[in-house]
Symmetry: C2
Subunit: 280 residues, 2 copies
């Protein structure tokens, strides 16, 4: 079983691509929707939340966790890897920023744009990772704090979305390849295509490709699988089912709620059995 | 010194009105900007944050705290009053929802609308408080989760703001009086006036009036004053100064940062001296 961790719903757009590429694997998705968005949190809180979520996925039996949130990948991945997946550990944690950087470097003709949350932009991680691979590539970042809430409101196809995209993309006219640096943004691809005339890059399919490679090189991290999909969330499960389906592109049957107590996610109890569903 | 507590910047629009009405009082504003927005938090987390903030204001020497955030007033005020300001206590905590309800009841001709955050709407507190005073008054609530982030982005005068307001206000056509149930919204009054043809009610001036009454009936809760204004925030102080000035309608000179450690605001230390400023 592969753990997929996100601050809320966005990571479901990544899970969708992981499942398409790895249909026979079991996935357990943990959306920390009760504490989303992470954007405005200070770094220590974000690391604390990320630790709690990753620990919960380990408790559930995952040995491999994919951090399917760009903000957490940019800010906390190194920390999580050092803490839980150092040399000798039987666990691994993978992010999605490096596959995104690799994909951007592979296709860009000279100038990459990165559209992301304020926190992701201020981390500078996309710039660092892209320029590690291609030091001469120009990278322009643009924080777009309204896009994710707009998509969560279900307004991604409205005139409001178009005008918002126009405003955020105006400083990116010279960019040839625009990385969607937040997992919400693929839902807005039709509107972004109207507004931006270069190449739009959703990193999720590349992350799925990289995961497939990785699993071939590292057998034994996932255990026996049946193609099952299970969900945990810290927010309201009914709202997770409803909104989550738009992000996953498929209905979500069952979600197990993880309560928060005094700032920490509850530990796993034998009462909470995650049975999962098989998508057809 | 009167403590004014808000989840971030919005309460500064209330502080502005409090200062206009009570220019000789000292105010200490605490904006929990590092953990804002509170909207998506579960109730226990929200209560926990509110306790930490109110405790900090008490530690700073405030005996009277105004909760200048509708979400906290709606969800946590009763809890805070029971915990810190019960019978025999020398402390008092006042909210802004009841003054808003009183103002709405005083002017409405039959149908009040409430525009607010999702959390405020789902608490039902505005409806309860209005109908306690006027059981026959019709009340229609509308959650507007995009408005506060849009205003924080500084886009309150754009076409995007107008279209967003139109969309949220469409179900409120029959309303004669619309309560701005979030302290961010007064910044959008010009656009709201274009979109809504009934009476728009910013509750802040009424809250200031009520506070003045209250202070006359309860002398001794504020101590000697010089008309000073001081600020604490849990987020980035530079960003607080910059954005806060728009909400306060005046420059903010100095902000003391309160760090968050393992999910809790730091206690007061002698290192952090809040000196305050006198606005002219």
């Amino acid at each position: 079983m592969i753990g997929v961790y996100d601050s809320g719903f966005g990571g479901l757009t990544v899970l969708r691509r992981l499942r398409e590429r790895l249909p026979h694997h079991d996935f357990l998705y943990l959306g920390d929707s009760g504490r989303a968005p992470y954007g405005g949190r200070d770094v220590h809180t974000l690391l604390d939340f990320a630790e709690q979520c990753v620990e919960r996925l380990f408790e559930e039996g995952c040995r491999l966790v994919v951090v399917a949130c760009n903000t957490v990948s940019c800010v906390a991945l190194r920390h999580l890897q050092r803490r839980y997946a150092g040399p000798g550990s039987e666990r691994r944690i993978l992010g999605i920023t490096i596959p995104a950087a690799e994909a951007a470097v592979a296709v860009s003709e000279g100038h990459v744009g990165v559209l992301a949350t304020t926190r992701t932009v201020s981390s500078g991680t996309f710039v660092t990772e892209i320029q590690k691979l291609a030091p001469r590539l120009r990278v322009t970042q643009q924080a777009a704090p309204l896009l994710a809430p707009l998509i969560e409101e279900g307004w991604e196809s409205t005139e409001i979305a178009r005008l918002t995209a126009e405003r955020y993309l105006a400083p990116l006219r010279e960019v040839d390849t625009l990385v969607l640096g937040c997992t919400h943004y693929p839902l807005m691809l039709p509107v972004l295509r109207q507004t931006f005339h270069g190449r739009l890059l959703d990193p999720a399919p590349f992350a799925a490709e990289r995961l497939l490679d990785w699993l071939e090189r590292h057998p034994g991290f996932t255990g026996p699988s049946q193609g099952r999909l299970s969900f945990l969330c810290s927010g309201d499960p009914a709202s997770f089912r409803e909104h989550g389906a738009r992000f996953l592109g498929a209905p979500i049957d069952e979600v197990v709620h993880i309560a928060e107590e005094a700032g920490r996610l509850q530990r796993r109890t034998s009462m909470q059995v995650v049975t999962g569903q098989i998508l057809r």
